[in-house]
């Protein structure tokens, strides 16, 4: 049980780090999660 706290801490910090990097370089987690064939057609890109 004690392992979960440092694991979650690292996980949380990684999320924060990803947010910082992704915001600077314009990465999109949503785009990363979409299947490749949909990505290439642009059909699943974000809509406002």
């Amino acid at each position: 049980m004690r392992l979960k706290t440092p694991v979650y801490t690292i996980y949380g910090l990684l999320l924060c780090g990803y947010l910082a990097v992704a915001s600077r370089y314009g990465f999109s987690l949503l785009n990363t999660m979409t299947p490749r064939f949909l990505r290439s057609s642009g059909a699943m890109l974000q809509h406002k």
């Binding site: 947010l19 370089y25 314009g26 999109s28 949503l30 890109l45 406002k48």
Partner: protein, 632 residues
Amino acid sequence: MELMGVQAQLPPDISPLQIGTQGSYEGRPFTLIGRVRMGYREGSWNEWCADFGNGLWGWVAEAQGFYMVSFEVEPPADLPGMAELLERESRPGGPPPLVDYRLHQGREALKVGRSMQIAGTRYAVRDTKQTEILGSEGSLPFTAVPGRAAISGDLGGPGRAFANIEYSNDGIRLFTGHYCTFEELAFRDLRPLPGWTTKDVETTRREADALNCPTCGAALNLRAAGLSMVAHCVGCGSLVDTSHPAVQLVATASIRQQGFKPVIPIGTRGTLKGVEYECIGYLRRRDNYGYSWDEFLLFNPFAGFRWLVMYQGHWSFIEMLLEEPPQFFGMPVIDRQEFRPFSVGRAEVVYVLGEFYWQVRHGERTEVADFIAPPRVLSSEKYPELAEVTWSAGEYMTGKEVHAAFRLPGAVPEPMGLYLNQPNPHLEKGRTLKWLLPLLAGVFLLISLIAAATRSNEAAFHSGFAMSQVGTNGAIVSEAFELKGSHAQAVEFSLQAGLNNSWLETGIDLVNVDTGQVEREIVVGVDFYSGNDDGPWEEGSQQRSVIVPAVPPGEYRLLIEPSMDPPNPQLPFFIGIRRDVMVWSNVWLGFIGLMAYPIYRWMRLSSFETARWAMSDFSPSAGADDDDDDDE
């Protein structure tokens, strides 16, 4: 003060106190100089005379591991019987009242539950009994005549206030003080206790000290001599009244009970919370639903009595409270912690083994109520024939801890199901989340705000087009534009068209001018419909945007392939591009990711509590079921 010597045969007891023992009460040192053994129908206790010096003396009563320090004070004039006593004293020479009349006065005045105001403190009578002096020793401030009868009432008040009122041939006497613990009184020069403070076990005892079973004659080896009111004979299994030297048979052993071996054998010693206890008694009780549990009475001559209660492998370590806990909207409160009501019911004794400090019987019934603040539990017990309620507080223990403490052989049985005060394992696992989650969420939010604030969000391109501009290649080629920057960035493409009841979709290729390669393929469309049926309505949007992630800086053109229905070659549409925009989906998805584990932990915690309270007589579902029945 008279030196009484030793009057009458004092029964053996395991009190750690002796004449000469010193202690301290509220900072005032005292020495025990005398003792009176008081007996009543169901037992006996010690009253120690304490010399505080400078002519001040008080009393230290010792019963069931509790200590009551009190000093004699003038009874208030409004105490029942006092007016008559004072009037009689003012007319000396008349005959004294009969003892029976005085005892009757006491019984009437000291009804259990009666409230009295004494010296500004409100007391309630907790216990009343007819007493007699069994014997005495040492120096005492009065002549302790063996057999002197009295009605003695113990009263309790807030803050562990204690009072005792005694009606006897000597008049009406009042003593006030406090309930104290052994530790608080800081005793020293204690009596050596064989098996406890000395390794020697008493091998020679005076014949008059030995207690024998009236059924089989076997010696009754009392582990809490002087405190045990009933004991089980290991020879024949009979239940014997040991409250007086003349032991009496209470009940013969049932065939079913003989040979029964409790999990913690009688006589086993173990250390719990740093104190060594001996298991001296075992009870099995059953509630009105047929569920049964085991109770083990533990004894330490200095700490007093404690209990271990076991149900399906779940244990609780219980100690009795000196006073009823204060209530807050019907919930008892201890150490500023509220205890929620969990169950009410009746408990019946079905097995008895060993010794007990009250006259326990097979079939004895009590009304019990449990209140919980896991891992703690508060229980109240009420005997139907008494107005008194006893309270005890306990804490959950695992089978492993108990087996290790008492060095019990064999494997530890796995606990079954949930128990009322079992600590929620998910509460412990998620304890650090209380500060970790806000910390991480705060860092996450801070990074989001800084990221949003540092984005350029600069317009890089904006131009209007029409379907009529489509060339032979089926596409419109835009002017070149530059996406500035030193690194890849998110780029927002927006399409706007003033259409109505139609749609427009544009397939846009972002072509790098330098390399001629298509960097991205984007599809963005708008649709807008409106009408007037039962009122005006509209649907869709004339403007839409998409965010394209991680586009490298450079010079680009757009290859636009529009399609529209119904076609309108002259309808203008506008494409705008903003560079280095904030990708907010990263924030939402990242936050969901951050909350995933805490939400999982919270669901497990809630699920455990739901299962716990499903067993309660006060569960919300129990109330809802009742409401459903009412609706029918």
